[in-house]
Assembly symmetry: C2
């Protein structure tokens, strides 16, 4: 019997990106680590991010980032690949992602 | 009988400012309006901000901004004055406030 298909991934259009939603998505240490990792490495499979949270928590963080339009995800076989939507973000909020990533993270 | 003194206002030190807390504080339309207003006008009394929320809600927003270190407040007589902590914010997170304020707010 084939596996149950995963629900489709929903991504907002570039023109619908919300500053408040993007700031909210960035306002979390785990999500900042995900964004920082993707800024350095354009596409990564889930499970390869340097974070130490439970899988369900990580799924939640990916969903917040995806629904805010910060990341794009696609399923290929058994793997889910994640990219940073930097061109879309930079078009709408110029320099925001790099300014945030240039800021010292907490506890430094 | 004298009025009950207000509780002291607590402000984090510049070195304790947290990127996550600042991003969280900025991730709200009313709080962004407060910050945008203070960026243009250095010190304002409460009650003069162009926001349409209940006083208790506004107090909450000021508290979130104050505890994140985004604003400083002082009481003088019956008025509470608010300033943006731009020098502290720029020292710790260079360019962050102006990059956020240069981004189009939601619904534009």
């Amino acid at each position: 019997m084939p596996a149950t298909p995963r629900p489709p991934l929903i991504h907002p259009d570039k023109s619908d990106l919300s500053l408040v939603a993007v700031l909210h998505a960035l306002a979390d240490p785990t999500r900042l680590t995900i964004v920082r990792t993707l800024r350095a490495d354009p596409e990564r499979p889930c499970g390869t991010f340097p974070v130490t949270v439970a899988p369900s928590t990580l799924s939640h963080h990916f969903r917040v980032l995806r629904e805010a339009g910060v990341i794009r995800q696609r399923d290929e076989g058994n793997r889910r690949w994640t990219t940073l939507r930097l061109p879309d973000l930079d078009a709408r909020f110029p320099g925001l992602i790099d300014t945030v990533l240039a800021s010292p993270p907490d506890n430094t």
